[in-house]
C-alpha cells in the first residue's frame, strides 16, 4: 500500500512522464488546465515516486510547461510496487469516470456563480450529449429538436 512520504516543489525538468500513459490530453484540455492554473493557482499536486516518475498529473505538467513554470508542487509516494504504480496511473483516471454529473446542480451553479466560464468547456448542461440538437425519427424521418 502506498503512502505520502513528502510534499515539495520539484523542478519541472526533473519529472519523468510515464512513457506508456494511456490517458490522452488534447491541446484544448492543456490550454484549459493552464487557464485554470492562472485563475486558481496550482492547487492539486503532482504525484511522483522517489525517482520522479509521474504517477498522476501528466496533463497538469504539460500545462505548467506552457505557462513556463519552473517548479510544481509534488507529493512523493512511497510503498507502491512497480505493478501498483502502473495500475494506479490507470485507476486514478478511471475511478473519476465512474462518477456522474448532477445536471440540475451543475446548471444551477453555472448560472448562480459570478464567474466567466467562457475560457472553459463548461456549458451548464452537463456533458456534451445534453447540448441541444436535432434528431430524426428512424421510422418516418420526422425531425425533432431535443434538449
Amino acid at each position: 500500500m502506498g503512502k505520502i512520504a513528502d510534499v515539495q516543489e520539484v523542478t519541472l525538468t526533473k519529472l519523468v512522464p510515464y512513457a506508456r500513459n494511456a490517458k490522452l490530453h488534447s491541446e484544448e484540455q492543456i490550454r484549459e488546465i493552464a487557464d485554470s492554473i492562472k485563475e486558481f493557482g496550482f492547487i492539486n499536486p503532482i504525484l511522483i515516486d522517489k525517482d520522479f516518475n509521474v504517477i498522476a498529473g501528466h496533463g497538469r505538467i504539460e500545462a505548467a510547461k506552457k505557462l513556463k513554470l519552473e517548479a510544481v508542487p509534488c507529493v512523493f509516494i512511497e510503498g507502491l510496487t512497480e505493478e501498483q504504480r502502473r495500475a494506479f496511473i490507470l485507476a486514478d483516471n478511471k475511478l473519476f469516470e465512474l462518477g456522474d454529473w448532477n445536471d440540475i446542480n451543475l446548471k444551477t451553479e453555472v448560472e448562480d456563480v459570478s464567474f466567466d466560464f467562457t475560457a472553459f468547456s463548461v456549458d451548464g448542461g452537463g456533458t456534451e450529449e445534453n447540448e441541444p440538437r436535432e434528431i430524426a425519427c428512424p421510422r418516418c424521418g420526422h425531425k425533432v429538436g431535443v434538449a
Binding site: M1, V7, A22, N44, V75, A91, D92, E109, F120, C137
Partner: protein, 164 residues
C-alpha cells in the same frame, strides 16, 4: 499539505458531481490496494471542494484521517467555479485504448476492481473484430430492455419510440 480527520470534514451541499455506489465501491478497492495517496482539496472551513466521493469511500473503509490540500485565497465564487472546472478538466481527456488494453493485460492486478471492463479492448477494435469476438455466441435478451419506458424519445409524427 495537512492530515485531516474525516469527522471534521464537510461534504459539499448541492454537489455538481454524483457518486454512484459502483464508484464508491471501486474507490474503496483503490484505497485498500494503493492507499489514500491523492490529497483532497478543502477550503478554510474544512469543506471538501474536490474529493467528496473519495472521503465517503475512506470513511467506509474505516480511515480516520485523509491527506488534504487547503486553499485559503479563493473567493466563494472562485471556489464554486474551481469545483466545476476541475471536474470538467479531469473528465476532458480521452484514452489511447490500444495502450490501455496492453497495460491492463500486462498488469497482474484485477483491474475490474477499479472500474475497468475486462472487455475494454472492444472500444478500439474495428467492426469486424467485434463480429469475431461475438461470432457464434448466443446471447439471451432481456425483454425488459425493450419496454416502452426504456426508450428516450417518442416521435411526434408517427409515435415510434427510439433512442437518440
Amino acid at each position: 499539505m495537512e492530515t485531516l480527520k474525516t469527522s471534521d470534514l464537510h461534504f459539499l451541499e448541492n454537489n455538481v458531481r454524483s457518486h454512484p455506489e459502483e464508484q464508491i465501491e471501486a474507490l474503496e478497492e483503490s484505497i485498500k490496494e494503493f492507499g489514500f495517496i491523492n490529497p483532497i482539496v478543502v477550503d478554510e472551513n474544512n469543506k471538501v471542494l474536490v474529493g467528496n466521493g473519495r472521503v465517503e469511500a475512506a470513511i467506509n473503509v474505516g480511515m480516520e484521517t485523509v491527506p488534504a490540500i487547503r486553499v485559503t485565497d479563493l473567493t466563494e465564487d472562485q471556489k464554486r467555479a474551481y469545483i466545476i472546472i476541475e471536474n470538467k478538466l479531469i473528465e476532458a481527456g480521452g484514452w489511447n485504448y490500444e495502450l490501455l488494453n496492453s497495460e491492463i493485460e500486462a498488469i497482474g492486478l484485477d483491474m475490474t476492481r477499479f472500474g475497468f471492463d475486462k472487455f475494454s479492448g472492444m472500444e478500439i477494435v474495428e467492426g469486424d473484430e467485434i463480429q469475431k469476438t461475438f461470432k457464434n455466441t448466443n446471447q439471451e435478451l432481456d425483454f425488459e430492455l425493450f419496454d416502452d419506458d426504456n426508450f428516450e424519445f417518442t416521435c411526434e409524427n408517427c409515435g415510434f419510440r427510439f433512442n437518440g
